[in-house]
Amino acid sequence: MTNINLLPKSLGPKGSILKLANFSQKAAVVMTAIFFIFGLFIGGYLFFLNREIKNSQSRQETLKATIKNLEQTEQKLFLLKDRIAKIKLFYSLADSQTDFQDVGSLLAGNPSVLATKVAVTPGKVTLNGMAQGSQTFGDFLGVLVLSPNYKSINLSSFSFSPEVGYSFGFDLTTK
């Protein structure tokens, strides 16, 4: 059927308005296309992400069940690590044994000097002894001074009596 416009042309819409209407129509079509294309893309991507999350969660549940079965091993590993940390603490503490070995070797190498009382604590040695003659004491002092094990040597007491010879006391700081 043919459309017949009986209205006079002066009453019809202006050319610029018609152009705007035409443009709006085209723009609406383009925008609708954009809406559907990107909408489809976003929807698809959201679906993909959701599926990935669900798959990962289900794999996590399986792994959690596996770990639950290995709970005893985990406890042992944790306990072992805890003990090892404590053993490390133990080994960080100072020991008097090396100082005792050093002073023991020193005395064993100088049998003419008699140690009457020796006290060894970590980092410190108090050595009291006797030497029959000045030569013996001098030799012992020489050995002590040359020993690489002592940081400082302090002669805390020194006396002589004809009966016992030289009595001496040293405070030694170990390296």
Binding site: L18, L20, A21, S24, A27, A28, M31, T32, I34, F35, F38, G39, I42, L46, L49, I53, S56, L63, K64, T66, I67, L70, T73, E74, Q75, K76, L77, F78, L79, L80, K81, D82, R83, I84, A85, K86, I87, L89, F90, Y91, S92, L93, D95, S96, Q97, F100, Q101, G104, S105, L107, A108, L114, A115, T116, K117, V118, A119, V120, T121, P122
Partner: protein, 220 residues
């Protein structure tokens, strides 16, 4: 006029809908991507943990014992004394005047027990004995030695400390990572596995025996 307004209204509506939809869609995408990244991190932690625990499952019992014997859960004074006495016996000396007391805490995490005793022997014997103290478990260290010579013999008062620590109360959560033993930790395990451990004798209860005459003598 109607023909003119309709496409404009439709255009405005579809543009608004597109903008709003894209904004909401992208926000949701960002949220899901963050969730996925977090989930993947958790999954990787669990995967790694399951792998670590699975590989350790069979090798554990052997390694746990020396570590537990080195720093026991409870006061190890009796074990340490038994070990020291055995050690002294092998070195041909005798422990006397044994004193045991709880020591002052030097470090957080491990509690000390002070033990002191007298030993007598020649110098090399005493040096050998004190030098061997580091080879026993529970881990024991020499904290002091006081000695003097009586003729050719040495009489020494040796002070040692041995340590204990209660087991941890809280174990890590299921989703916390579990790292395998580091080279440093393995080295410590190897070191302590060479130390001597206290021996235990399990006394089994005797089985019930028939008593033919309940008023007579019990069979031995």
């Amino acid at each position: 006029m109607k023909k003119l307004i309709a496409p404009i209204i439709f255009f405005v509506l579809i543009t608004a809908l597109t903008l709003f939809g894209f904004k909401a869609g992208f926000a949701k995408i960002l949220e899901l991507r963050t969730t996925l990244a977090e989930t993947n991190i958790k999954e990787n932690i669990l995967k790694e943990k399951a792998g670590v625990l699975g590989s350790l499952q069979d090798s554990f019992d052997l390694q746990a014992n020396p570590a537990v014997a080195s720093i026991p859960e409870k006061n190890p004074a009796l074990f340490a004394l038994s070990q020291l006495k055995n050690l002294a016996q092998t070195k041909g000396i005798f422990l006397a005047n044994i004193k045991v007391g709880l020591g002052a805490n030097e470090l957080t995490g491990i509690s000390p027990v002070d033990i002191s005793f007298d030993v007598e022997g020649n110098l090399s014997q005493v040096l050998d004995f004190t030098g061997s103290i580091k080879t026993i478990t529970p881990l024991t260290r020499v904290t002091g030695v006081e000695f003097g010579f009586i003729e050719a013999r040495v009489r020494a008062t040796v002070s040692v400390k041995t340590y204990w620590a209660p087991y941890p109360i809280k174990i890590p959560s299921l989703v916390d990572p579990a790292a395998p033993l580091s080279a440093d930790e393995k080295e410590i395990l190897l070191k302590i596995s060479q130390l001597s451990r206290p021996s235990f004798i399990n006394l089994l209860p005797s089985s019930p025996t028939e008593v033919p005459n309940p008023f007579g003598e019990l069979p031995i």
